[in-house]
Symmetry: C2
């Protein structure tokens, strides 16, 4: 590597009062050489700082290619190249650094992945500070019509409430989440498992380019990196950590979306599950999480907002069910109606007796109910009209 | 009324060591004259016994038709007529009296309904003792294809496990629950809001007659009674009380099935909810209950059995998701595969470096993975095959 922290004029001073250049450059090197989600390196950085972590990591070790990989990195050149592509590098201490990532300091690893990333590569004009109140919406690549419909309805609602939506830029639910948010005029950010200059999956080229031009695309991988399976797992923890909660719309039992959800759970973020048909393959994972009591049912964007809001804010109205014709009746009418038999007609005196009212009252009430279509007179008695 | 308890020879002595005849006849009268779910009368019976409750209730009161109604009842004749139709009358203390009904002694009223019934009218050869381990399966009359499918799958499983299914004999989910249980050779009982000699709804005539002939039909209403709305509410508490838990398959927000579920909750029975599409009207009530944390998700009959079983009994295997082709690989193959890029091909030395393995090992592993169809060789490098 080209020695970090030797230059007199800081090439990338960062915002005022922020991180020393040597620290920033060391983080660039670590970001380029260490695989994402390497909890050991993260924990070392926290204990002894990025510069000393880098020094220690450069010491040659048998059976490790890491020192070699780190030595290859020229951090100043990396930052210059990135800047030319409109890509910035954020580190803890920068005003734009998402606060939620702090949660990763304390958390155990999931599937061998964990820790705060050394830095984040960001492409796009939207400051990540705007993600402070954001929600992740994730799910299967193989989305069903139902999943697509629910994703779009929820993201539409979030967009109108000016809550940014974070997702993974993948096919299926991720795509629908980004797209529906854009269509409704909201803000949305993709966190990728490859470099922010790459387009993966290729089918989402237009979407990802639009996000990079108008919002933001984020990765802990340096530009140029390719996606691998462990990198997807590492990426998932960032989606959960950056946001206040994760909505999982559809997920099969072994879906990667449940890995994001597991991170949201481990980080004490809201875990919000959209239930689905038990018979649907893509709802099995979500229903299973609900069965285990690991998430809250959400059926509408308003319920997502309610969970995110502080107590009392954004309270959802209790769903009341359809108004029924019955609701328009007076209380006396309703009372008498209760005692009208469903099928076999009953005489007025029988209904009067059951409802503990005078026969004459009951008779006139039944006639009113008849006029309103609630009861029928048949074979000398009264019965309910069908569908009452 | 014809005086109860005056005869020398007990007309209906009941099983040995059981309830005195006077008590039984007083309960017949109360059962015929008092509306079901009258918590005040139930509580009086518990405090001072059925005979004294009847005496007090016969005292004429202004604005109450009750004394008159009670005076009309000839309990011996009622029992004789019932017996001729193959209908028996059970009271607390009878060996066949469902123990679960005891729970109604302590419980508050829901929608003005509560209390242990004075007795139960039963038609059919199945002793109610067999309901000790039964499950209620209830839901909308307006069932969807999904609801029908889930109801039948769950009841089929319960039937094979010899767990009796209790429901309300109504259209929709109730019908499917009874019918699927019968088809699978299980036992099933209907609890009605009308007399057990009546057929309501008429469309279920064959079902109800079959249950009365081969299993049991139960009501707290005397024979001949017609169904009214309050009687449906009262009936619901019996379904919940007699069973160990209630499965609600589909229910709109104001569905009567949720009233049964509310009784199951109030009685500390298992409340089991089958989640459904958020977009389905008939799943809205069930999903809302789940959202409020008032029930456990069940997606399969085995999960119902697990909840009912004592600790450790009938444990359901964790759903494992589909086996993936990847699972058949050796651990080395799986490890190397993790580092093969998803789309852009990578050279063998890059993959070797990422996976911390020797280039020669990595190369041979990649060739094996190629032979098994997991990777492709393109443009001088390796990438994942689609759908791996």
């Amino acid at each position: 590597m080209t020695a970090a922290g030797t230059g007199e004029v800081p090439a990338f001073p960062g915002p005022p009062g922020s991180v020393p250049e040597a620290e920033r450059l060391a983080r660039v090197v670590l970001s380029c050489g260490v695989e994402p989600g390497d909890g050991k390196t993260s924990s070392l950085i926290r204990q002894i700082g990025a510069e000393r972590t880098l020094e220690q990591s450069l010491v040659p070790k048998p059976d490790s290619g890491l020192p070699e990989r780190l030595a290859e990195v020229d951090p100043v050149r990396q930052l210059e190249q990135a800047a030319r592509c409109g890509i910035r590098f954020l580190v803890p201490g920068d005003p734009e650094w998402p606060r939620g990532l702090g949660g990763l300091d304390d958390v155990i690893t999931l599937q061998g992945v964990g820790g705060t990333p050394p830095g984040l590569w960001v492409r796009g004009p939207m400051p990540l500070t705007e993600l402070a109140e954001s929600v992740a919406v994730v799910g299967s690549r193989a989305a069903s019509v139902y999943g697509v419909e629910m994703t779009r309805a929820i993201c539409d609602h979030l967009a109108l409430a000016r809550v940014p939506v974070v997702s993974g830029g993948a096919l299926g639910i991720d795509f629908e989440a980004h797209d529906a948010t854009l269509v409704s005029g909201g803000a949305t950010v993709a966190v990728l498992a490859c470099g922010v200059d790459r387009v993966y999956p290729a089918a989402n080229r237009r979407l990802l380019q639009h996000l990079a031009a108008e919002f933001a695309v984020v990765s802990e991988q340096p530009p140029g990196s390719i996606p691998t399976r462990p990198r997807f797992l590492a990426r998932n923890r960032l989606i959960a950590a950056i946001t206040r909660g994760t909505v999982v719309v559809e997920a099969a039992l072994r879906s990667g979306a449940l890995n994001t959800t597991a991170w949201a759970e481990a980080l004490n973020r809201h875990v919000m599950c959209v239930p689905g048909p038990v018979t649907s393959y893509t709802s099995r994972g979500v229903n299973h999480w609900l069965r285990e009591g690991r998430g809250t049912v959400v059926t509408h964007g308003a319920e997502v907002l309610e969970l995110l809001g502080s107590a009392g804010e954004r309270l959802v109205e209790e769903p009341r069910g359809e108004e029924r014709p019955r609701d328009s009746l007076t209380s006396v009418e309703q009372h008498v109606l209760e005692w009208v038999p469903v099928s076999t007609p009953a005489a007025v005196d029988s209904i009067a007796r059951l409802s503990s009212r005078h026969v004459r009252d009951t008779d006139s009430t039944l006639r009113r109910l008849h006029a309103k279509g609630f009861v029928r007179f048949e074979a000398g008695g009264w019965r309910l009209a069908p569908d009452v």
